[in-house]
């Protein structure tokens, strides 16, 4: 206890103490912020993935599920399953202005709405229009911005008064006026766009009407907003889809589909490559009799791993009549993606941890200074009965105290920042006119954060351990000082 008494006195009112503490504080604070924000993005990202993929997917690769109803009932009976929906999915070529590959997914709209987030993702036709117009204008504006910068750069090379220079100046004026016009247009389109992004989810009736009510016999699809933009599609336009199944690759099917509507999930790939249709129409299109699979929604997605096995058992009887069914969780379906994100997070945290390491060196240097300065004190403490361990304790406590105070401060500052991060972002926007996390880039209203006690422990515990290790060297050196040597000089 006297060690703490002495150590605290040594730390008190020394500038170096505060500098070293500030170092640890900054390191811990930045780590807390990064871990929390990355965690928030990760959570949003997972949520998006779950929005598109069912929690668990039971799939037959040869579309051989004949009695979907019985199979679905068997799955429904598994405790923890909230809803199921049948689907049939296959690869397609989309032919319009361009050719791209995509996936067509035949669904029962009302059932699918219970399993996934279709309700939130679907756009009403005026909403789809607002999104397309705004985003196209925005991209256009960016292109002009780039063009203006390019012209400005190249103009420098042309001689003043030369024909090329005059042409460039003329082009610049044109570009600028176009740019301004587009800016004004973007401003006008902003409000309907915001409205579309904050749209109300589709009701059951709206979903049914979207998928089922149409003029004529042509089958319909709901396309992603990115495909709509790229192919310049409108509701009511027709596109040509081509497909072939694994079982019969030579037989290429081709059919015209009418665009019924659009959806926007916020994940580019999904918004470009997925097309939704009705199960029956899609079955007919790809030329199969059975269903391709069952989407399963769980009461709690965290049970996916566990319930996967239960579902596997429940569907075993069906595997005899149809071929093998594969059961996969949403995480398995996106394994590489999830691992990449996780990796990114840890890598960044690891790099930032070096701030803490540097702060640790700060602790070493101030303790080394302290030991040098307190040589005589060490001799005195020993002559008064201080043991080797006791003297070591004084300096270890001093080092650990700096780390603990820095960690506590960094933790509270970091958490305060995290909880107020959106206010901070708004403030930055007000100050600079530029939002650090533009919402149309990240498709998020707010900067997401996720404060996880375990991850905070991963920040603080290594910091404390590291500081302890760093403090060890000067502390041991102090304790080894011979009291006679230490006492010799005035």
């Amino acid at each position: 206890m006297w060690r703490l008494f002495v150590a605290l006195r040594y730390l008190k009112r020394r500038l170096t103490t505060y500098i070293a503490t500030a170092g640890v504080t900054i390191g811990v604070m930045v780590l807390v912020i990064v871990v929390s924000v990355m965690g928030g993005f990760q959570r949003e990202f997972h949520e998006k993935l779950r929005g598109i993929n069912a929690h668990i997917t039971v799939e037959s690769y040869d579309f051989s599920i004949q009695d979907a109803e019985t199979l679905m009932n068997a799955i429904r009976r598994v405790k923890g399953v909230a809803a199921v929906a049948p689907f049939v999915q296959n690869i397609v070529l989309v032919k319009g202005m361009y050719v791209d590959f995509g996936f067509i997914k035949g669904i029962e709209p009302d059932m699918e709405a219970e399993v996934g987030k279709l309700r939130q993702y679907l756009l009403r036709s005026e909403e789809a229009l607002a999104v397309v117009e705004y985003e196209n204008t925005r991209d256009h504006l960016k292109a002009y911005e780039y063009g203006i910068a390019q012209i400005k750069r190249e103009m420098e090379a042309f001689e003043e008064g030369s024909a090329r220079r005059r042409f460039a100046e003329f082009a610049l004026i044109r570009f600028k006026s176009q740019y301004e016009e587009l800016s004004r247009k973007l401003e006008r389109l902003k409000e309907p766009y915001q409205k579309a992004l904050n749209r109300a989810p589709f009701s059951d009736e709206e979903i049914i009407r979207l998928f089922c009510f149409r003029k004529g016999e042509t089958p319909g699809v709901v396309v992603g907003i990115e495909l709509m933009k790229h192919y310049n599609l409108r509701v009511g336009d027709e596109i040509l889809l081509m497909t072939a199944t694994r079982m019969n690759l030579e037989k290429i099917q081709q059919e015209k589909f009418v665009v019924l509507g659009a959806f926007k999930t916020g994940v580019f790939d999904t918004d470009f490559r997925y097309l939704y249709g009705l199960v029956d129409e899609v079955k007919k299109f790809i030329g199969v009799e059975g269903i391709g699979g069952i989407s399963v929604k769980l009461e709690d997605f965290k049970d996916a791993e566990r319930l996967k096995d239960a579902i596997q058992v429940a569907i075993e009887p069906f595997e005899k009549e149809s071929s093998r069914l594969s059961v996969k969780t949403w995480m398995e379906l996106n394994r590489t993606l999830l691992q990449a994100v996780q990796m990114e997070k840890w890598l960044l945290s690891f790099i930032i941890f070096f701030i803490v390491v540097v702060a640790g060196f700060g602790i070493v240097s101030i303790l080394t200074m302290m030991v040098a300065e307190k040589t005589r004190d060490i001799g005195i403490l020993k002559s008064l009965g201080g043991t080797t361990k006791g003297v070591m304790g004084v300096f270890l406590i001093a080092g650990t105290f700096i780390a603990a105070a820095g960690s506590a401060l960094g933790l509270s500052l970091g958490l305060t920042f995290v909880y107020r991060i959106n206010e901070v972002a708004a403030f930055i926007e007000k100050l600079t006119g530029y939002h650090p996390f533009p919402r149309d880039v990240y498709y998020l209203d707010k900067i997401p954060t996720e404060v996880d006690a375990l991850e905070l422990a991963y920040v603080v515990v290594p910091t404390l351990l590291l500081s302890f290790v760093f403090a060890l060297y000067p502390a041991i050196r102090a304790s080894r000082l011979h009291p006679v040597e230490a006492l010799r000089y005035e």
């Binding site: 206890m1 006297w2 004190d377 005195i380 002559s383 008064l384 043991t387």
Partner: protein, 241 residues
């Protein structure tokens, strides 16, 4: 003096080494002292007085020889036991005061007692230590200086604090190494008066080293050290060979 000696040294030698060359500082010291004695170690500068004092006070170790504390051999006891004995049995007063500059006079005096307390009973122990330290500081005449840092005290005042610190543990032996060596004559006299008072009040056992002839009268026994050896000893003025 039939009683057993409190401190006894037999054949104590101490050498430093400069490369292979041996530099003997103590060349075989036989010495003992009893409870209540006030021994004065007199000798020229560099004779080895401080070295002997440090060895007897368990701050330093001899190269050769045996030490007894109340006839128990303490030559080779482990380091933390030595530290414990320093704290419980001995007190030290040095020429250069050796107070801790970051602590007030009061805290400096309290420290030896605080070092005995663990986490449990810290506050109770601290309270007791404070009370005792205040009493002692009053005895040494620093009642109104207790919250001053050493840097705010004069040399004489600092030495009084050091004396109070040495006495707070009620040591069996108080070691003093040139306690007035750094003070002017007048202040030195007042410190000596204080020490005499302490001697009477606590019947304190002293071992004091000095090169100052004028202090010889302070001891009840004087041993003469020259060049690492005891060359003469007298008790109460009577030469003892």
């Amino acid at each position: 003096m039939s009683e057993k000696p409190i401190l006894r040294a037999v054949g104590v030698k101490k050498s430093y080494y400069a490369g292979k060359r041996e530099l003997p500082v103590l060349r075989g010291i036989d010495f003992s002292m009893h409870k209540g004695e006030c021994v004065l170690m007199y000798g020229p500068s560099g004779a080895g007085k401080s070295t002997l004092l440090h060895i007897l006070g368990l701050i330093d170790v001899p190269t050769e020889g045996t030490l007894y504390l109340e006839e128990e051999n303490i030559t080779a006891i482990p380091a933390n036991r030595r530290a414990q004995l320093r704290n419980e049995k001995f007190g030290f007063v040095f020429q250069f005061y050796h107070l801790l500059p970051d602590f007030s006079a009061l805290e400096n005096v309290m420290l030896p007692l605080l070092m005995r307390n663990g986490l449990l009973g810290w506050f109770r122990g601290k309270k007791k230590a404070k009370k005792r330290a205040e009493e002692l500081l009053e005895i040494v005449g620093l009642k109104d200086r207790i919250h001053h840092k050493p840097s705010e005290l004069s040399g004489g005042e600092r030495q009084r604090v050091a004396i109070a610190r040495a006495l707070i543990t009620e040591p069996q032996v108080l070691f003093l190494d040139e306690p007035t060596g750094n003070l002017d004559t007048k202040t030195a006299d007042s410190i000596l008066t204080l020490l005499k008072e302490m001697k009477n009040r606590f019947s304190q056992t002293f071992l004091m080293a000095t090169h100052n002839k004028a202090l010889v009268s302070f001891g009840t026994r004087v041993i003469n050290i020259v060049d690492g050896k005891i060359v003469g000893e007298e008790s109460d003025g009577a030469p003892k060979s």
